[in-house]
């Protein structure tokens, strides 16, 4: 449970005037963090906010909410649509590791905005808007991130870490082994050139009638190759069935790449884009393996986690299709 009085005190301090907290409603909670809708009032006006906090002790490599808040502030300064950061918790606040941000109006459920007629205009604008947001993020000088404890490595090192995690499960999936070998051979040894959002996909965007209203979930951000973000956005799993539109279920690759270059991003090498899509598909497959491992190991036993184990076959099929046809 969230201490509403502590939250009101934090907000009053940040706002410089009294803020009341009427209610705190859990929106979603995972093993590592939780999100709450906060109904606050300041100066007689409703102030809808979001509070995100880490569940318990940070796992190795997990970004603190304070770091995520700082990333959102940097992104906002460089023209990305993100929720305004209102306050970051301090150790004495009794609220754990967390931060409060503005609640951005719009639709967060991708299956709704990918389908609804009311969002047709938003979908038409979204490929260019996504490309522009990513190009702006990738252009931020690395020095701005220097104070933050971000992971980083060469593409090949990143892939090797993912491969090692796969091997640690002792599961035999030939398509995974084939794809890991294929991707490792092709990913380069270049040093990180940019901040990579790491989870820029249809499920992590807030969409209003004009298109992209906010980029959410910065918890997988790291230093790396910008092409990783473009590949991740094109992974089949994020199309929610709209598989004919490879960019998140709403756009075409050529339009994404052209808009990215037009907004100042590096020209996209189509062959490398395919490699990053294979890598992204492997990352999604590893997420499935982690979830089914939660069930098999007894950490989080549930029929849902068990069933996700059979979604791994979808990932294998996508990997083989990508390797055979070059794109999916």
């Amino acid at each position: 449970m969230i201490d509403t009085a502590a939250l009101a005190a934090l907000l009053s301090r940040a706002h410089g005037a009294p803020v009341a907290v009427d209610s705190v409603t859990a929106l979603s909670g995972g093993a590592s963090s939780a999100t709450y809708a906060v109904a606050a009032r300041a100066g007689g006006n409703d102030w809808p906010l979001i509070f995100q906090c880490s569940a318990a002790a940070l796992e190795p490599g997990q970004l603190s909410k304070a770091t995520q808040a700082e990333l959102q502030r940097i992104a906002a300064r460089h023209g990305l649509p993100v929720a305004d950061v209102i306050a970051v918790t301090a150790p004495g606040d009794g609220l754990g590791d967390g931060f409060v941000m503005a609640r951005v109006a719009g639709e967060a459920l991708a299956p709704r905005w990918l389908k609804g007629a009311a969002f047709a205009g938003a979908r038409a604008a979204l490929t260019t808007q996504s490309a522009t947001a990513l190009a702006r993020l990738h252009a931020v000088p690395l020095a701005e991130f220097a104070p933050l404890p971000l992971a980083g490595g060469t593409p090949r090192e990143q892939c090797a870490r993912l491969d090692a995690a796969y091997r640690s499960y002792h599961v035999d999936l030939p398509a995974f082994d084939l794809a890991f070998g294929w991707a490792t051979e092709r990913l380069g040894d270049h040093a990180p050139a940019a901040l990579v959002h790491g989870d820029f996909r249809s499920g992590n965007l807030i969409i209003d009638e004009h298109g992209l209203a906010a980029v959410l979930d910065w918890e997988l951000a790291h230093l790396g190759d910008p092409a990783e973000d473009l590949g991740w956005l094109c992974v089949n799993a994020w199309r929610f069935g709209h598989w004919q539109l490879p960019v998140g279920g709403f756009g075409e690759r050529a339009a994404l790449y052209d808009a990215y270059a037009a907004a100042g991003g590096a020209p996209v090498d189509r062959a490398m884009a395919q490699v990053w899509e294979v890598y992204g598909t492997l990352r999604w497959g590893m997420a499935c393996l982690q979830l089914v491992h939660d069930h098999l190991s007894g950490r989080v036993p549930s029929v849902e986690r068990a069933a996700i184990g059979r979604r791994i076959t979808e990932v294998e099929a996508d990997l083989l299709y990508l390797l055979k046809h070059g794109s999916i």
Binding site: D172, D177, N236, E304, T313, A317, Y321
Partner: protein, 117 residues
Amino acid sequence: MAVPSATVLLEAVAAYLAEIEPGLTGRAAFHAKVAGNVLAVVARELDQQPERAEAAAFASLLGPGATAADVCERLRDGRLTIATPGLLDALLTATTARLAVDNPRYSTLGRLTGTTR
């Protein structure tokens, strides 16, 4: 009359889930829906026996009795690569057989088998 087969038992459980589902909400309702999907996977697995197509595909690469573990071991040490004749097609055959069980509505299955354009 015969004692109920595994398939008949699954159908009975699926019917029971469908019966209680309207009375459930939230997490319980969601998990009941997932459980119904899981029963359908098991029913298809009993019916289609994808392990046979998978075994035949692995045998075409490495000989009779070859397992997924054998294929993975050779992919890891480089004895099999993407350039190995027949490798990609054998893995596709094995995977489409299992995908037809695990999620027959998945778009990539239709694209691989030519039923979705």
